[in-house]
Symmetry: C2
Subunit: 313 residues, 2 copies
Protein backbone atom coordinates (compact mmCIF):
# COMPACT_ATOMS: atom_id res chain seq x y z
CA UNK A 1 0.00 0.00 0.00
CA UNK A 2 1.34 3.42 -0.87
CA UNK A 3 -0.11 4.90 2.28
CA UNK A 4 0.16 3.88 5.92
CA UNK A 5 -3.02 3.15 7.79
CA UNK A 6 -1.75 5.12 10.78
CA UNK A 7 -1.05 8.22 8.66
CA UNK A 8 -4.35 7.83 6.89
CA UNK A 9 -6.31 7.63 10.13
CA UNK A 10 -4.41 10.62 11.55
CA UNK A 11 -5.30 12.53 8.38
CA UNK A 12 -8.93 11.54 8.65
CA UNK A 13 -9.09 12.40 12.35
CA UNK A 14 -7.69 15.87 11.68
CA UNK A 15 -10.49 16.54 9.17
CA UNK A 16 -13.37 15.40 11.37
CA UNK A 17 -15.50 18.13 12.95
CA UNK A 18 -17.45 17.20 16.04
CA UNK A 19 -20.48 18.78 17.65
CA UNK A 20 -20.73 18.67 21.45
CA UNK A 21 -22.80 15.48 21.24
CA UNK A 22 -19.64 13.56 20.27
CA UNK A 23 -17.56 12.89 23.40
CA UNK A 24 -14.87 10.92 21.56
CA UNK A 25 -14.59 10.44 17.81
CA UNK A 26 -11.85 8.72 15.83
CA UNK A 27 -8.99 7.32 17.91
CA UNK A 28 -10.26 4.91 20.55
CA UNK A 29 -11.71 1.39 20.55
CA UNK A 30 -15.16 2.87 19.96
CA UNK A 31 -16.72 6.28 19.44
CA UNK A 32 -18.35 7.76 22.56
CA UNK A 33 -21.61 9.68 22.17
CA UNK A 34 -23.76 11.66 24.58
CA UNK A 35 -26.97 9.89 25.52
CA UNK A 36 -30.38 11.16 26.63
CA UNK A 37 -29.56 9.41 29.93
CA UNK A 38 -27.39 11.91 31.88
CA UNK A 39 -25.49 9.10 33.67
CA UNK A 40 -24.48 7.22 30.54
CA UNK A 41 -22.70 7.46 27.25
CA UNK A 42 -23.44 5.49 24.13
CA UNK A 43 -20.66 3.53 22.41
CA UNK A 44 -20.57 2.95 18.64
CA UNK A 45 -18.06 0.77 16.79
CA UNK A 46 -17.58 -1.07 13.51
CA UNK A 47 -15.06 -3.71 12.57
CA UNK A 48 -14.61 -5.77 9.41
CA UNK A 49 -12.96 -9.11 8.72
CA UNK A 50 -11.86 -10.10 5.23
CA UNK A 51 -11.06 -13.44 3.59
CA UNK A 52 -7.34 -14.34 3.56
CA UNK A 53 -6.61 -11.50 6.00
CA UNK A 54 -8.55 -12.50 9.10
CA UNK A 55 -9.76 -15.97 8.14
CA UNK A 56 -9.54 -18.57 5.37
CA UNK A 57 -12.14 -20.56 3.47
CA UNK A 58 -10.88 -23.74 5.16
CA UNK A 59 -11.91 -22.30 8.54
CA UNK A 60 -15.20 -23.31 10.15
CA UNK A 61 -17.77 -20.70 9.01
CA UNK A 62 -19.32 -20.81 12.47
CA UNK A 63 -16.01 -19.66 13.96
CA UNK A 64 -15.71 -16.93 11.31
CA UNK A 65 -19.16 -15.61 12.28
CA UNK A 66 -18.26 -15.74 15.97
CA UNK A 67 -15.01 -13.87 15.33
CA UNK A 68 -16.64 -11.08 13.30
CA UNK A 69 -19.17 -10.40 16.04
CA UNK A 70 -16.89 -11.01 19.03
CA UNK A 71 -14.29 -8.46 17.85
CA UNK A 72 -16.88 -5.73 18.33
CA UNK A 73 -17.97 -7.05 21.73
CA UNK A 74 -14.28 -6.94 22.70
CA UNK A 75 -14.00 -3.28 21.63
CA UNK A 76 -17.04 -2.30 23.69
CA UNK A 77 -15.79 -4.32 26.69
CA UNK A 78 -12.47 -2.44 26.54
CA UNK A 79 -14.32 0.88 26.93
CA UNK A 80 -15.92 -0.42 30.16
CA UNK A 81 -19.23 -0.78 28.33
CA UNK A 82 -21.91 -3.36 27.60
CA UNK A 83 -23.07 -4.13 24.04
CA UNK A 84 -26.71 -3.43 23.13
CA UNK A 85 -27.29 -4.56 19.53
CA UNK A 86 -25.53 -4.89 16.19
CA UNK A 87 -25.88 -4.87 12.41
CA UNK A 88 -24.14 -7.39 10.14
CA UNK A 89 -23.10 -6.46 6.58
CA UNK A 90 -21.95 -9.36 4.42
CA UNK A 91 -20.11 -9.45 1.11
CA UNK A 92 -20.74 -13.00 -0.14
CA UNK A 93 -19.17 -14.71 -3.19
CA UNK A 94 -21.67 -16.36 -5.51
CA UNK A 95 -19.78 -19.64 -5.17
CA UNK A 96 -20.75 -20.15 -1.50
CA UNK A 97 -23.52 -22.58 -0.76
CA UNK A 98 -26.39 -21.83 1.56
CA UNK A 99 -25.18 -24.26 4.21
CA UNK A 100 -21.95 -22.29 4.55
CA UNK A 101 -23.85 -19.05 5.04
CA UNK A 102 -26.22 -20.68 7.54
CA UNK A 103 -23.23 -21.83 9.59
CA UNK A 104 -21.72 -18.33 9.42
CA UNK A 105 -24.97 -17.04 10.93
CA UNK A 106 -24.88 -19.83 13.53
CA UNK A 107 -21.64 -18.30 14.80
CA UNK A 108 -23.00 -14.77 14.65
CA UNK A 109 -26.19 -15.69 16.54
CA UNK A 110 -24.24 -17.77 19.04
CA UNK A 111 -22.13 -14.72 19.93
CA UNK A 112 -25.21 -12.46 19.91
CA UNK A 113 -26.94 -14.80 22.38
CA UNK A 114 -23.87 -15.24 24.57
CA UNK A 115 -23.57 -11.49 25.08
CA UNK A 116 -27.30 -10.62 24.92
CA UNK A 117 -26.57 -8.35 21.98
CA UNK A 118 -29.14 -9.09 19.24
CA UNK A 119 -28.63 -8.72 15.49
CA UNK A 120 -31.12 -6.01 14.47
CA UNK A 121 -30.37 -5.77 10.76
CA UNK A 122 -27.70 -5.47 8.11
CA UNK A 123 -27.29 -6.04 4.42
CA UNK A 124 -25.99 -8.66 2.00
CA UNK A 125 -23.99 -7.81 -1.12
CA UNK A 126 -22.65 -10.16 -3.78
CA UNK A 127 -18.86 -10.06 -4.29
CA UNK A 128 -16.63 -11.98 -6.72
CA UNK A 129 -14.26 -13.66 -4.28
CA UNK A 130 -13.31 -11.52 -1.33
CA UNK A 131 -15.79 -12.45 1.35
CA UNK A 132 -16.13 -9.84 4.07
CA UNK A 133 -18.13 -9.51 7.26
CA UNK A 134 -18.51 -6.01 8.66
CA UNK A 135 -20.28 -5.67 12.01
CA UNK A 136 -21.38 -2.41 13.60
CA UNK A 137 -22.36 -2.40 17.26
CA UNK A 138 -23.95 -0.02 19.75
CA UNK A 139 -23.24 -0.24 23.47
CA UNK A 140 -23.71 1.70 26.67
CA UNK A 141 -21.35 2.71 29.47
CA UNK A 142 -21.80 4.48 32.80
CA UNK A 143 -20.00 7.81 32.53
CA UNK A 144 -18.01 6.98 35.65
CA UNK A 145 -16.85 3.65 34.21
CA UNK A 146 -15.74 4.87 30.77
CA UNK A 147 -12.19 3.68 29.97
CA UNK A 148 -10.38 5.62 27.24
CA UNK A 149 -6.81 5.23 26.00
CA UNK A 150 -5.71 8.64 27.16
CA UNK A 151 -5.78 8.44 30.98
CA UNK A 152 -2.54 6.56 31.81
CA UNK A 153 -0.24 8.44 34.23
CA UNK A 154 3.38 7.83 35.23
CA UNK A 155 3.41 5.58 38.29
CA UNK A 156 0.36 3.57 37.15
CA UNK A 157 0.75 -0.20 36.93
CA UNK A 158 0.31 -1.92 33.54
CA UNK A 159 -1.87 -5.05 33.57
CA UNK A 160 -3.03 -7.62 31.07
CA UNK A 161 -5.57 -10.47 31.20
CA UNK A 162 -4.91 -14.00 29.94
CA UNK A 163 -1.94 -15.51 28.14
CA UNK A 164 -0.48 -13.88 25.06
CA UNK A 165 0.80 -14.85 21.63
CA UNK A 166 0.27 -17.52 19.01
CA UNK A 167 -3.43 -16.81 18.56
CA UNK A 168 -3.10 -17.68 14.85
CA UNK A 169 -3.00 -21.33 15.93
CA UNK A 170 -6.71 -21.16 16.88
CA UNK A 171 -7.61 -18.55 19.47
CA UNK A 172 -8.08 -15.79 16.88
CA UNK A 173 -11.21 -17.62 15.66
CA UNK A 174 -12.76 -18.74 18.94
CA UNK A 175 -11.64 -16.22 21.55
CA UNK A 176 -13.98 -15.15 24.33
CA UNK A 177 -14.32 -11.36 24.52
CA UNK A 178 -13.48 -10.21 28.05
CA UNK A 179 -16.81 -8.55 28.73
CA UNK A 180 -17.58 -10.00 32.18
CA UNK A 181 -13.96 -9.54 33.16
CA UNK A 182 -13.86 -5.89 32.05
CA UNK A 183 -17.08 -5.19 33.94
CA UNK A 184 -15.64 -6.76 37.08
CA UNK A 185 -12.36 -4.86 36.69
CA UNK A 186 -13.98 -1.42 36.28
CA UNK A 187 -15.80 -2.10 39.55
CA UNK A 188 -12.74 -3.36 41.45
CA UNK A 189 -9.73 -1.29 40.36
CA UNK A 190 -9.06 2.30 39.32
CA UNK A 191 -8.55 1.87 35.60
CA UNK A 192 -6.90 4.91 33.98
CA UNK A 193 -6.75 3.54 30.42
CA UNK A 194 -7.79 0.36 28.63
CA UNK A 195 -7.59 -1.20 25.15
CA UNK A 196 -8.28 -4.65 23.79
CA UNK A 197 -5.27 -6.49 22.37
CA UNK A 198 -5.88 -6.70 18.64
CA UNK A 199 -2.53 -5.56 17.19
CA UNK A 200 -0.35 -7.24 19.83
CA UNK A 201 0.91 -6.11 23.25
CA UNK A 202 3.80 -3.99 21.96
CA UNK A 203 1.73 -2.08 19.38
CA UNK A 204 -1.34 -1.65 21.56
CA UNK A 205 0.81 -0.41 24.43
CA UNK A 206 2.05 2.33 22.09
CA UNK A 207 -1.56 3.20 21.24
CA UNK A 208 -2.09 3.93 24.94
CA UNK A 209 1.32 5.62 25.14
CA UNK A 210 0.53 8.01 22.28
CA UNK A 211 -2.98 8.80 23.52
CA UNK A 212 -1.79 9.34 27.11
CA UNK A 213 1.63 10.88 26.32
CA UNK A 214 3.48 8.42 28.53
CA UNK A 215 6.23 5.81 28.33
CA UNK A 216 6.39 2.26 29.66
CA UNK A 217 8.68 -0.16 31.42
CA UNK A 218 7.66 -3.81 31.06
CA UNK A 219 9.08 -6.68 33.12
CA UNK A 220 10.03 -9.45 30.73
CA UNK A 221 9.52 -12.20 33.30
CA UNK A 222 5.95 -11.05 33.99
CA UNK A 223 4.70 -11.18 30.40
CA UNK A 224 2.19 -14.07 30.35
CA UNK A 225 3.18 -16.36 27.49
CA UNK A 226 0.59 -18.77 26.05
CA UNK A 227 1.33 -22.37 25.15
CA UNK A 228 0.38 -21.39 21.58
CA UNK A 229 3.19 -18.80 21.60
CA UNK A 230 5.63 -21.50 22.73
CA UNK A 231 4.43 -23.94 20.05
CA UNK A 232 4.54 -21.25 17.36
CA UNK A 233 8.04 -20.21 18.44
CA UNK A 234 9.22 -23.78 17.86
CA UNK A 235 8.11 -23.38 14.24
CA UNK A 236 9.27 -19.81 13.59
CA UNK A 237 12.59 -19.94 15.44
CA UNK A 238 11.65 -16.76 17.30
CA UNK A 239 11.46 -16.57 21.09
CA UNK A 240 8.10 -17.24 22.75
CA UNK A 241 8.32 -13.75 24.33
CA UNK A 242 8.57 -12.28 20.83
CA UNK A 243 5.25 -13.86 19.92
CA UNK A 244 3.64 -12.77 23.20
CA UNK A 245 4.69 -9.18 22.53
CA UNK A 246 4.03 -8.98 18.82
CA UNK A 247 1.35 -11.42 17.73
CA UNK A 248 -2.02 -9.84 17.07
CA UNK A 249 -5.58 -10.93 17.88
CA UNK A 250 -5.18 -11.98 21.50
CA UNK A 251 -8.36 -10.01 22.34
CA UNK A 252 -7.27 -9.80 25.95
CA UNK A 253 -7.53 -6.56 27.98
CA UNK A 254 -4.50 -4.29 28.37
CA UNK A 255 -5.01 -1.60 31.00
CA UNK A 256 -3.31 0.76 33.40
CA UNK A 257 -4.41 1.24 37.01
CA UNK A 258 -3.86 3.96 39.62
CA UNK A 259 -3.98 1.42 42.48
CA UNK A 260 -0.79 0.58 44.36
CA UNK A 261 1.11 -2.56 43.51
CA UNK A 262 0.02 -4.68 46.46
CA UNK A 263 -3.65 -3.81 45.94
CA UNK A 264 -3.58 -4.64 42.25
CA UNK A 265 -1.72 -7.89 42.93
CA UNK A 266 -4.41 -9.03 45.34
CA UNK A 267 -7.04 -8.04 42.76
CA UNK A 268 -5.19 -10.23 40.24
CA UNK A 269 -5.35 -13.15 42.66
CA UNK A 270 -9.08 -12.62 43.09
CA UNK A 271 -9.47 -12.36 39.31
CA UNK A 272 -7.77 -15.74 38.84
CA UNK A 273 -10.05 -17.37 41.43
CA UNK A 274 -13.17 -15.83 39.90
CA UNK A 275 -12.51 -16.32 36.19
CA UNK A 276 -10.05 -19.24 36.16
CA UNK A 277 -7.27 -17.53 34.20
CA UNK A 278 -4.57 -14.98 34.83
CA UNK A 279 -4.55 -11.26 35.26
CA UNK A 280 -0.92 -10.04 35.39
CA UNK A 281 0.90 -6.89 36.39
CA UNK A 282 3.44 -6.62 33.58
CA UNK A 283 5.07 -3.25 34.15
CA UNK A 284 4.55 0.39 34.98
CA UNK A 285 3.88 3.68 33.27
CA UNK A 286 6.83 6.11 33.11
CA UNK A 287 7.34 9.60 31.66
CA UNK A 288 7.04 9.85 27.91
CA UNK A 289 10.54 11.38 27.77
CA UNK A 290 12.01 8.25 29.32
CA UNK A 291 10.76 6.13 26.41
CA UNK A 292 9.59 2.55 26.40
CA UNK A 293 11.61 -0.38 27.75
CA UNK A 294 11.48 -4.01 28.59
CA UNK A 295 13.61 -5.16 31.55
CA UNK A 296 14.82 -8.72 31.93
CA UNK A 297 15.60 -10.82 35.02
CA UNK A 298 19.17 -9.48 35.16
CA UNK A 299 17.84 -5.91 35.10
CA UNK A 300 19.10 -5.36 31.54
CA UNK A 301 16.98 -2.92 29.55
CA UNK A 302 15.93 -3.42 25.92
CA UNK A 303 14.21 -0.67 24.01
CA UNK A 304 10.60 -1.49 23.17
CA UNK A 305 9.02 -0.31 19.94
CA UNK A 306 5.77 -1.09 18.13
CA UNK A 307 6.30 -4.49 16.57
CA UNK A 308 9.40 -5.53 18.48
CA UNK A 309 12.20 -4.76 20.91
CA UNK A 310 15.96 -4.36 20.77
CA UNK A 311 18.30 -6.92 22.25
CA UNK A 312 18.88 -6.47 25.95
CA UNK A 313 22.04 -4.55 26.72
CA UNK B 1 -25.71 -17.58 -5.90
CA UNK B 2 -27.23 -20.80 -4.63
CA UNK B 3 -29.40 -18.92 -2.17
CA UNK B 4 -31.75 -15.97 -2.60
CA UNK B 5 -31.06 -12.86 -0.56
CA UNK B 6 -34.78 -12.57 0.25
CA UNK B 7 -34.98 -16.13 1.57
CA UNK B 8 -31.75 -15.66 3.47
CA UNK B 9 -32.95 -12.48 5.17
CA UNK B 10 -36.30 -14.11 6.00
CA UNK B 11 -34.37 -17.00 7.55
CA UNK B 12 -32.18 -14.64 9.54
CA UNK B 13 -35.15 -12.57 10.70
CA UNK B 14 -36.92 -15.68 11.96
CA UNK B 15 -33.91 -16.54 14.15
CA UNK B 16 -33.47 -13.12 15.71
CA UNK B 17 -34.68 -12.72 19.30
CA UNK B 18 -35.44 -9.22 20.47
CA UNK B 19 -35.67 -7.73 23.94
CA UNK B 20 -38.24 -4.96 24.51
CA UNK B 21 -35.58 -2.32 23.80
CA UNK B 22 -35.73 -3.24 20.10
CA UNK B 23 -38.81 -1.62 18.52
CA UNK B 24 -38.05 -2.89 15.01
CA UNK B 25 -35.29 -5.28 14.01
CA UNK B 26 -34.57 -6.82 10.62
CA UNK B 27 -37.01 -5.84 7.85
CA UNK B 28 -37.17 -2.07 7.46
CA UNK B 29 -34.86 0.64 6.11
CA UNK B 30 -33.22 0.87 9.55
CA UNK B 31 -33.50 -0.79 12.94
CA UNK B 32 -35.54 1.16 15.51
CA UNK B 33 -34.37 1.20 19.12
CA UNK B 34 -35.82 2.64 22.31
CA UNK B 35 -34.00 5.71 23.54
CA UNK B 36 -33.53 7.21 27.00
CA UNK B 37 -35.60 10.13 25.62
CA UNK B 38 -39.26 9.04 25.99
CA UNK B 39 -40.34 11.08 22.94
CA UNK B 40 -37.79 9.61 20.54
CA UNK B 41 -36.46 6.45 19.01
CA UNK B 42 -32.95 5.81 17.83
CA UNK B 43 -32.33 4.56 14.27
CA UNK B 44 -29.41 2.31 13.35
CA UNK B 45 -28.47 1.23 9.84
CA UNK B 46 -25.54 -0.13 7.82
CA UNK B 47 -25.06 -0.33 4.08
CA UNK B 48 -22.10 -1.45 1.98
CA UNK B 49 -21.03 -0.69 -1.57
CA UNK B 50 -18.67 -2.95 -3.46
CA UNK B 51 -16.45 -2.46 -6.53
CA UNK B 52 -18.02 -3.57 -9.83
CA UNK B 53 -21.42 -3.91 -8.13
CA UNK B 54 -22.19 -0.36 -7.03
CA UNK B 55 -19.32 1.55 -8.62
CA UNK B 56 -16.30 1.12 -10.90
CA UNK B 57 -12.68 2.14 -10.61
CA UNK B 58 -13.17 4.60 -13.48
CA UNK B 59 -15.69 6.51 -11.33
CA UNK B 60 -14.65 9.63 -9.44
CA UNK B 61 -13.60 8.44 -5.95
CA UNK B 62 -15.22 11.55 -4.46
CA UNK B 63 -18.56 10.42 -5.91
CA UNK B 64 -18.00 6.89 -4.58
CA UNK B 65 -17.44 8.28 -1.07
CA UNK B 66 -20.53 10.47 -1.36
CA UNK B 67 -22.62 7.52 -2.52
CA UNK B 68 -21.51 5.21 0.31
CA UNK B 69 -22.43 7.78 2.94
CA UNK B 70 -25.54 9.17 1.24
CA UNK B 71 -27.20 5.74 0.96
CA UNK B 72 -27.36 5.59 4.74
CA UNK B 73 -28.65 9.15 5.04
CA UNK B 74 -31.38 8.14 2.58
CA UNK B 75 -32.36 5.14 4.73
CA UNK B 76 -32.65 7.30 7.85
CA UNK B 77 -34.60 9.97 5.94
CA UNK B 78 -37.09 7.30 4.79
CA UNK B 79 -37.84 6.44 8.45
CA UNK B 80 -38.75 10.09 9.12
CA UNK B 81 -35.50 10.50 11.04
CA UNK B 82 -32.41 12.71 11.13
CA UNK B 83 -28.88 11.24 11.00
CA UNK B 84 -26.58 11.80 14.00
CA UNK B 85 -23.17 10.27 13.21
CA UNK B 86 -21.54 7.42 11.30
CA UNK B 87 -18.64 4.99 11.09
CA UNK B 88 -16.82 4.17 7.85
CA UNK B 89 -15.22 0.74 7.29
CA UNK B 90 -13.00 0.46 4.22
CA UNK B 91 -11.54 -2.52 2.40
CA UNK B 92 -8.76 -1.00 0.30
CA UNK B 93 -6.65 -2.76 -2.36
CA UNK B 94 -2.91 -2.26 -1.97
CA UNK B 95 -2.74 -0.93 -5.54
CA UNK B 96 -4.64 2.27 -4.73
CA UNK B 97 -2.64 5.42 -4.29
CA UNK B 98 -3.10 7.83 -1.40
CA UNK B 99 -4.61 10.51 -3.63
CA UNK B 100 -7.44 8.19 -4.57
CA UNK B 101 -8.19 7.44 -0.92
CA UNK B 102 -8.02 11.13 -0.01
CA UNK B 103 -10.60 11.89 -2.69
CA UNK B 104 -12.81 9.07 -1.43
CA UNK B 105 -12.72 10.75 1.97
CA UNK B 106 -13.44 14.12 0.34
CA UNK B 107 -16.75 12.66 -0.81
CA UNK B 108 -17.46 11.08 2.57
CA UNK B 109 -16.72 14.29 4.48
CA UNK B 110 -18.66 16.37 1.97
CA UNK B 111 -21.76 14.25 2.62
CA UNK B 112 -21.10 14.26 6.38
CA UNK B 113 -20.92 18.08 6.35
CA UNK B 114 -23.96 18.48 4.09
CA UNK B 115 -26.13 16.50 6.50
CA UNK B 116 -24.40 17.49 9.77
CA UNK B 117 -23.66 13.85 10.42
CA UNK B 118 -19.98 13.54 11.43
CA UNK B 119 -17.71 10.55 10.85
CA UNK B 120 -16.83 9.35 14.36
CA UNK B 121 -14.64 6.36 13.52
CA UNK B 122 -14.29 3.21 11.47
CA UNK B 123 -11.59 0.86 10.33
CA UNK B 124 -9.40 0.18 7.32
CA UNK B 125 -8.58 -3.31 6.06
CA UNK B 126 -6.35 -4.31 3.17
CA UNK B 127 -8.04 -6.38 0.43
CA UNK B 128 -6.63 -7.87 -2.77
CA UNK B 129 -8.95 -6.28 -5.35
CA UNK B 130 -12.51 -5.96 -4.21
CA UNK B 131 -12.72 -2.49 -2.71
CA UNK B 132 -15.65 -2.03 -0.36
CA UNK B 133 -17.03 0.82 1.71
CA UNK B 134 -19.39 -0.12 4.53
CA UNK B 135 -21.00 2.73 6.45
CA UNK B 136 -22.99 2.38 9.66
CA UNK B 137 -25.11 5.30 10.84
CA UNK B 138 -27.11 6.27 13.90
CA UNK B 139 -30.07 8.64 13.71
CA UNK B 140 -32.99 9.88 15.75
CA UNK B 141 -36.72 10.16 15.07
CA UNK B 142 -39.66 11.57 17.02
CA UNK B 143 -41.89 8.65 17.94
CA UNK B 144 -44.86 10.39 16.31
CA UNK B 145 -42.95 10.87 13.05
CA UNK B 146 -41.60 7.33 12.66
CA UNK B 147 -42.40 5.92 9.19
CA UNK B 148 -42.25 2.13 8.85
CA UNK B 149 -43.08 -0.03 5.86
CA UNK B 150 -46.02 -1.73 7.52
CA UNK B 151 -48.65 1.01 7.89
CA UNK B 152 -50.16 1.26 4.39
CA UNK B 153 -53.95 0.80 4.31
CA UNK B 154 -56.36 0.25 1.40
CA UNK B 155 -57.59 3.66 0.23
CA UNK B 156 -54.25 5.39 0.92
CA UNK B 157 -52.66 7.29 -1.96
CA UNK B 158 -49.23 6.18 -3.23
CA UNK B 159 -46.69 8.99 -3.79
CA UNK B 160 -43.14 9.32 -4.99
CA UNK B 161 -40.65 12.18 -5.08
CA UNK B 162 -38.54 13.11 -8.10
CA UNK B 163 -38.17 11.48 -11.51
CA UNK B 164 -37.44 7.80 -11.84
CA UNK B 165 -35.23 5.47 -13.85
CA UNK B 166 -31.88 5.50 -15.62
CA UNK B 167 -29.88 6.37 -12.49
CA UNK B 168 -27.01 4.23 -13.79
CA UNK B 169 -26.25 7.07 -16.23
CA UNK B 170 -25.02 9.23 -13.31
CA UNK B 171 -27.55 9.84 -10.54
CA UNK B 172 -26.62 6.67 -8.64
CA UNK B 173 -23.27 8.29 -7.78
CA UNK B 174 -24.32 11.85 -7.02
CA UNK B 175 -27.91 11.65 -5.78
CA UNK B 176 -29.11 13.92 -3.02
CA UNK B 177 -30.73 11.99 -0.16
CA UNK B 178 -34.23 13.36 0.44
CA UNK B 179 -33.67 14.31 4.07
CA UNK B 180 -35.11 17.84 4.04
CA UNK B 181 -37.97 16.65 1.87
CA UNK B 182 -38.81 13.70 4.14
CA UNK B 183 -38.76 15.99 7.18
CA UNK B 184 -41.13 18.41 5.44
CA UNK B 185 -43.41 15.58 4.32
CA UNK B 186 -43.76 14.00 7.78
CA UNK B 187 -44.85 17.43 9.04
CA UNK B 188 -47.32 18.13 6.20
CA UNK B 189 -49.05 14.85 5.30
CA UNK B 190 -50.23 11.75 7.14
CA UNK B 191 -47.63 9.23 6.01
CA UNK B 192 -48.67 5.63 6.68
CA UNK B 193 -45.57 3.93 5.21
CA UNK B 194 -42.33 5.04 3.59
CA UNK B 195 -39.24 3.51 1.94
CA UNK B 196 -36.38 4.91 -0.09
CA UNK B 197 -36.17 3.70 -3.69
CA UNK B 198 -33.05 1.55 -3.84
CA UNK B 199 -34.30 -1.57 -5.67
CA UNK B 200 -36.63 0.27 -8.06
CA UNK B 201 -40.27 1.39 -7.78
CA UNK B 202 -41.82 -2.02 -8.59
CA UNK B 203 -39.68 -3.98 -6.11
CA UNK B 204 -39.80 -1.40 -3.34
CA UNK B 205 -43.58 -1.13 -3.68
CA UNK B 206 -43.74 -4.86 -3.01
CA UNK B 207 -41.58 -4.38 0.09
CA UNK B 208 -44.29 -2.06 1.42
CA UNK B 209 -47.00 -4.41 0.14
CA UNK B 210 -45.55 -7.41 1.98
CA UNK B 211 -44.92 -5.50 5.21
CA UNK B 212 -48.38 -3.89 5.15
CA UNK B 213 -50.32 -6.84 3.63
CA UNK B 214 -51.82 -4.69 0.90
CA UNK B 215 -52.00 -4.50 -2.89
CA UNK B 216 -51.50 -1.55 -5.25
CA UNK B 217 -52.94 0.04 -8.33
CA UNK B 218 -50.54 2.39 -10.13
CA UNK B 219 -51.53 4.89 -12.85
CA UNK B 220 -49.10 4.45 -15.72
CA UNK B 221 -49.49 8.05 -16.91
CA UNK B 222 -48.58 9.41 -13.46
CA UNK B 223 -45.24 7.58 -13.07
CA UNK B 224 -42.61 10.34 -13.24
CA UNK B 225 -40.06 9.31 -15.87
CA UNK B 226 -36.59 10.87 -15.81
CA UNK B 227 -34.75 12.06 -18.92
CA UNK B 228 -32.10 9.46 -18.01
CA UNK B 229 -34.75 6.73 -18.28
CA UNK B 230 -35.69 8.04 -21.74
CA UNK B 231 -32.05 8.16 -22.84
CA UNK B 232 -31.35 4.70 -21.45
CA UNK B 233 -34.48 3.29 -23.13
CA UNK B 234 -33.12 4.48 -26.47
CA UNK B 235 -30.07 2.27 -25.85
CA UNK B 236 -31.78 -0.77 -24.36
CA UNK B 237 -34.85 -0.91 -26.61
CA UNK B 238 -37.08 -1.10 -23.53
CA UNK B 239 -39.81 1.47 -22.82
CA UNK B 240 -38.90 4.45 -20.60
CA UNK B 241 -41.69 3.37 -18.20
CA UNK B 242 -39.93 0.01 -17.82
CA UNK B 243 -36.80 1.79 -16.62
CA UNK B 244 -38.79 4.07 -14.31
CA UNK B 245 -40.44 1.05 -12.70
CA UNK B 246 -37.50 -1.30 -12.53
CA UNK B 247 -34.19 0.56 -12.41
CA UNK B 248 -32.61 0.66 -8.96
CA UNK B 249 -30.81 3.38 -7.03
CA UNK B 250 -33.17 6.31 -7.58
CA UNK B 251 -32.95 7.11 -3.86
CA UNK B 252 -36.24 8.96 -4.03
CA UNK B 253 -38.96 8.55 -1.40
CA UNK B 254 -41.86 6.17 -1.99
CA UNK B 255 -44.67 6.60 0.52
CA UNK B 256 -48.35 6.10 1.19
CA UNK B 257 -50.59 8.76 2.76
CA UNK B 258 -53.95 8.68 4.53
CA UNK B 259 -54.83 12.19 3.24
CA UNK B 260 -57.54 12.56 0.60
CA UNK B 261 -56.55 12.99 -3.02
CA UNK B 262 -57.19 16.73 -3.32
CA UNK B 263 -55.23 17.46 -0.13
CA UNK B 264 -52.24 15.41 -1.20
CA UNK B 265 -52.29 16.97 -4.67
CA UNK B 266 -52.11 20.47 -3.20
CA UNK B 267 -49.26 19.28 -0.94
CA UNK B 268 -47.48 18.02 -4.07
CA UNK B 269 -47.86 21.47 -5.66
CA UNK B 270 -46.41 23.11 -2.55
CA UNK B 271 -43.57 20.53 -2.54
CA UNK B 272 -42.68 21.45 -6.14
CA UNK B 273 -42.60 25.17 -5.28
CA UNK B 274 -40.52 24.59 -2.17
CA UNK B 275 -37.97 22.06 -3.44
CA UNK B 276 -37.98 22.69 -7.21
CA UNK B 277 -38.79 19.13 -8.27
CA UNK B 278 -41.81 16.87 -8.43
CA UNK B 279 -43.77 14.96 -5.86
CA UNK B 280 -46.34 12.75 -7.62
CA UNK B 281 -49.43 10.79 -6.69
CA UNK B 282 -48.86 7.60 -8.69
CA UNK B 283 -51.63 5.29 -7.49
CA UNK B 284 -53.55 3.96 -4.55
CA UNK B 285 -53.39 1.15 -2.02
CA UNK B 286 -55.92 -1.68 -2.52
CA UNK B 287 -56.68 -4.92 -0.70
CA UNK B 288 -53.91 -7.52 -0.78
CA UNK B 289 -56.35 -10.03 -2.26
CA UNK B 290 -56.88 -7.78 -5.28
CA UNK B 291 -53.21 -7.99 -6.20
CA UNK B 292 -51.00 -5.34 -7.79
CA UNK B 293 -51.77 -3.61 -11.07
CA UNK B 294 -50.72 -0.83 -13.32
CA UNK B 295 -53.50 0.92 -15.29
CA UNK B 296 -52.86 2.75 -18.56
CA UNK B 297 -54.57 5.76 -20.16
CA UNK B 298 -57.19 3.52 -21.81
CA UNK B 299 -58.01 1.95 -18.43
CA UNK B 300 -56.35 -1.36 -19.39
CA UNK B 301 -54.84 -3.21 -16.46
CA UNK B 302 -51.44 -4.95 -16.51
CA UNK B 303 -50.34 -7.12 -13.62
CA UNK B 304 -47.44 -5.63 -11.67
CA UNK B 305 -44.78 -7.83 -10.11
CA UNK B 306 -41.38 -7.18 -8.53
CA UNK B 307 -39.04 -6.47 -11.41
CA UNK B 308 -41.65 -5.94 -14.14
CA UNK B 309 -45.23 -5.96 -15.32
CA UNK B 310 -47.32 -7.93 -17.79
CA UNK B 311 -48.52 -6.42 -21.04
CA UNK B 312 -51.68 -4.45 -20.70
CA UNK B 313 -54.75 -6.44 -21.61
Amino acid sequence: MFFSETDLIAGIASRAKYPSSIVKGIGDDTAVLKSADPDKYQLFTQDSIVLNQHFFLKDDPQAIGWKAYARNVSDIAAMGGIPSCALVALGLPKSLDEGWVTRLYDGIFSCADTFSCPVVGGDITAVENELFVSVSMIGVVSKQKLCLRNGAKPGNMVCVTGLLGGSIRSKHLNFMPRLREAQWLVNNVHITSMIDLSDGLAKDLFHIGEASSVGFELNKSEIPISSDAVALAAETGKAPIWHALNDGEDFELLFTVADNESDIKSVCTEFQELFGFRCSVVGRVIDQGEGAFIVDEKNRRGQLFPGGFDHFA
